[in-house]
Symmetry: C2
Subunit: 242 residues, 2 copies
């Protein structure tokens, strides 16, 4: 089975699925920017300075609690955007958003973006539908966190990441994964071995390669796929590219 959103391209799918008229409203204000790993797009409860439409990078949204409790609640790449709260008409969020995989993205100033959203209902409606998909992703994360075993959550996460990255090699450490999933680093090691034992992935130092997507999806036992299907339903057919 192929990646959920097709192969990543050098454009952002949320932008390219806009009608030309709407896209031309945004284009003058988009700045193609390189985002390095670990750079933070939003700090909890701080004003959101800009909104990012990734093309090559991947962003991660993390809920933070008391005493170092943190867990990833969602992630987005070339199919999505940061700054869900801005689309919702609010200028802060309790989430932390940071770059998990370095790459390019189109940035737009929050104030400019908000103004355009207010002036053009169709534009707002478009991004609002995306936020709907993102919300579904979060609900699936909640389900997964509550009911799935470590390997299942691991499989889900790898699939989501694989969808948003070119090729089959995902560059990450067990340590990083453990923070995202909110589990022990050693637990991730054991989990990857399990998936590797079934021939679904191959693990090298700092890299996990996806060998068998379909197998991973089976392994995820239904915790993967719902949000992706909804996205395809709503944004499936790109309007004329370029």
């Amino acid at each position: 089975m192929a990646k959920a959103f097709g192969q990543p391209t050098d454009s952002n799918r949320l932008l390219s699925s806009l009608s030309p008229a709407l896209r031309s409203l945004l284009e003058p204000h988009l700045h193609l920017t390189r985002f390095e790993r670990q750079s933070v797009l939003q700090y909890p409860q701080e004003t959101i300075g800009c909104v990012v439409f990734p093309v090559g990078c991947i962003g991660s949204m993390v809920a933070v609690g008391n005493d170092d409790r943190r867990i990833e609640v969602g992630l987005f790449g070339f199919e999505g955007m940061s700054g869900a709260s801005v689309v919702m008409g609010v200028d802060t969020s309790p989430l932390e958003v940071f770059i998990q995989v370095a790459g390019d993205g189109y940035a737009i100033d929050t104030d400019v973006f908000r103004k355009l959203l207010r002036q053009h209902d169709e534009l707002a409606a478009h991004f609002t539908r995306y936020i709907h998909c993102l919300n579904i992703q979060t609900t699936q994360t909640a389900l997964s966190n509550g009911q799935a075993k470590l390997e299942e959550r691991l499989a889900r996460w790898l699939l989501m990441c694989h969808d948003r990255v070119p090729g089959d090699r995902i560059s990450l450490t067990h340590e990083f994964l453990s923070v995202m999933l909110g589990v022990r680093r050693a637990g991730v090691t054991v989990g990857t071995h399990l998936l590797e034992g079934k021939g679904l992935i191959r693990a090298e130092r700092g890299i996990i390669s996806v060998l068998d997507r379909e197998g991973l999806e089976k392994e995820a036992r239904g915790s993967y796929g719902v949000a992706e299907k909804e996205y395809l339903r709503l944004f499936g057919k790109d309007r004329i590219e370029r």
Copy 2:
């Protein structure tokens, strides 16, 4: 410490915090209806027929997965509404929404509601801000499911329910709670004993009474409160009531 949204009244706070002009747009279309326990407002992937603004009832949003996996991802009472997806411009959702505590609510036909949202930006913006709060609630649920112990999740849930119910007595069974939290029924029994042992609640057959809110909040270790604070920030001061 008092309930997060103040005492429940015989009105819906989301409606009463609208400006009179906007409220008058909705009022002709609102039908005060009695909702019984267990009645379903939305089935997964089925068209959403109406949107409900509870006054006395409480609704529960549940994510459903493979083989009986289900878990509550959010809940709403007189401070909120059902049909988040409708506000987002989509007419289905993968969630199941049902009535958890019987009571009255204002129902409005989805098509009528959607039409009003499209025609009046301010109206849409108002409800969109609420959905933002609901999303935060879901992210906190994801955090809680992933990192909190049973008692903590239990404390969080009781607080959220307490906020939306008049008085301090919550009518529910361990069985029900176990389904909501996605844990064993027997686990809930043990958990309630633990909270009861600390003097935070009192459990009778089919009823849990909240004795010490502040204690419960401490027990929840930060998994309660974020979404509630955001709601108060955005909807804190009611506009002129009536």
